[in-house]
Amino acid sequence: MLDKFGIAKRIAKELQDGYYVNLGIGIPTLVANYVPHDIEVILQSENGLLGIGPFPFEEDVDADLINAGKQTVTTTKGSSFFDSAMSFGMIRSGRVDLTVLGAMEVADNGDIANWKIPGKMVKGMGGAMDLVASAKNIIVAMQHVNKAGESKLLSNCSLPITGLGCVKKVVTELGVFDITPDGFKCIEYATGVSLDYIKEKTLGRLIIADDVKEMSIE
């Protein structure tokens, strides 16, 4: 079974040279730490930055330079700043190659819910609805079950929807799942996790790939 760093490492293997990538808050942000050294990817921050660099040294902290999670960051060489309309312009017009975001629930047809728990949590959707409505390639990074031990991979989302039929792949602590017309297709399982356990923890339609294999994160 993976921890959150393992999930991030596995997603980093999806990155390709030259990709423009938007990483959401939480586990997705960690993906930036595992970009393979032989490729170049450019990270987009929807508050108006292409080319997010590492966290600054203490003396270089700049209140005017933050990421979408409101954390202080730096810029990489060749970075650019822009306003919020252009930021979502590049998202909506399909320039961003890969979007990684967290979710509360994913349905086996690719629907995603991640912005609201009615009566309990009201934080808002931020840029998530724009991202999921437009991105070509959306990977969800999340825990397979919620705190109550219930599956977050469902046949239908029970929480308010963020976007319809948009998720392409889900990476959890248990495995990697492609969204297919037949539902979640398990293509990899984490070390030490049985396929029976994955079946038990998945409520939506689940099929196992013929060539399913153990996940490698190194």
Binding site: N47, G48, D64, D83, M125, M129, L164
Partner: protein, 232 residues
């Protein structure tokens, strides 16, 4: 003579009255018009509708106006950093309209570009789409979203000249140039106010035609929500 320069925040917001709709620039606490928010709190103007990406934190930014119950309605995309906001919302004291961040930005842009509405895929099939006109283009469904109407836009720029030409810095740009284009009356506070000719015309982000009032702000706190550092 162009007369855009005002003395301070108090003078800039003096005709904002109860019930006004105001846009406030910034993303989180980054690039917010600190001086003007303080002036609005001191003025005690009430029943405001605020359009801003976020609602500040409990004791800074728009959070200050929430604490004093000056805000009737908040239109924002993400309000997760403000416990008082969440309390007022869940108890029904505060009206709120949550809209996707790109929609928020583009509705400001549409106003400044003189376009009455836009079509966006964001929110199709969700609560956001309820009651909205949809239209198909090339087989994909889009929502029609109207350009914003607001009485005042209040933004923060890094540098500005007395003609109202503005330059923003790093990610404190965010919604500021968009809202600057969208106010019936646009108020700008800057860190540095210079004479015409001192800013390179090629470097201007917002041309002065959009700006009605400008002043040099003082005592910027520029609070940071999450200080994250790399250890040496």
């Amino acid at each position: 003579m162009l007369k855009k320069v005002v003395k301070n925040a108090e003078e800039a917001v003096k005709d904002i009255t109860d019930g006004a709709t105001i846009m406030l620039g910034g993303f989180g606490l980054c690039g917010i018009p600190e001086n003007s928010i303080t002036a609005l709190v001191n003025k005690g103007v009430k029943n405001l509708t605020c359009i801003s990406n976020n609602a500040g934190v409990d004791d800074f930014g728009i959070g200050l106006m929430l604490k004093t119950r000056q805000v009737k309605k908040m239109i924002a995309s993400y309000v997760g950093e403000n416990a008082e906001f969440e309390r007022q919302l869940l108890s029904g004291e505060l009206e709120v309209e949550l809209i996707p961040q790109g929609t928020l930005a583009t509705r400001c842009m549409a106003t400044g570009y003189g376009i009455p509405a836009i079509y966006t895929p964001a929110g199709v099939g969700t609560e956001v789409a309820e009651g909205k006109e949809t239209r198909e283009f090339d087989g994909k469904t889009y929502l029609m979203e109207h350009a914003f109407k607001s009485d005042f836009a209040i933004v923060k720029a890094w540098k500005g000249d007395t003609h109202g030409n503005l330059i923003f810095r790093a990610t404190s740009r965010n919604f500021n140039p968009l809202m600057a284009m969208a106010g019936k009356i646009t108020i700008v506070e800057v860190e540095e106010l210079v004479q015409p000719g001192e800013l390179d015309p090629d470097m201007i982000h917002t041309p002065g035609i959009y700006v009605n009032r400008i002043f040099k702000g003082v005592n910027y706190e520029k609070r940071i929500e999450q200080i994250t550092v790399t250890k040496r």
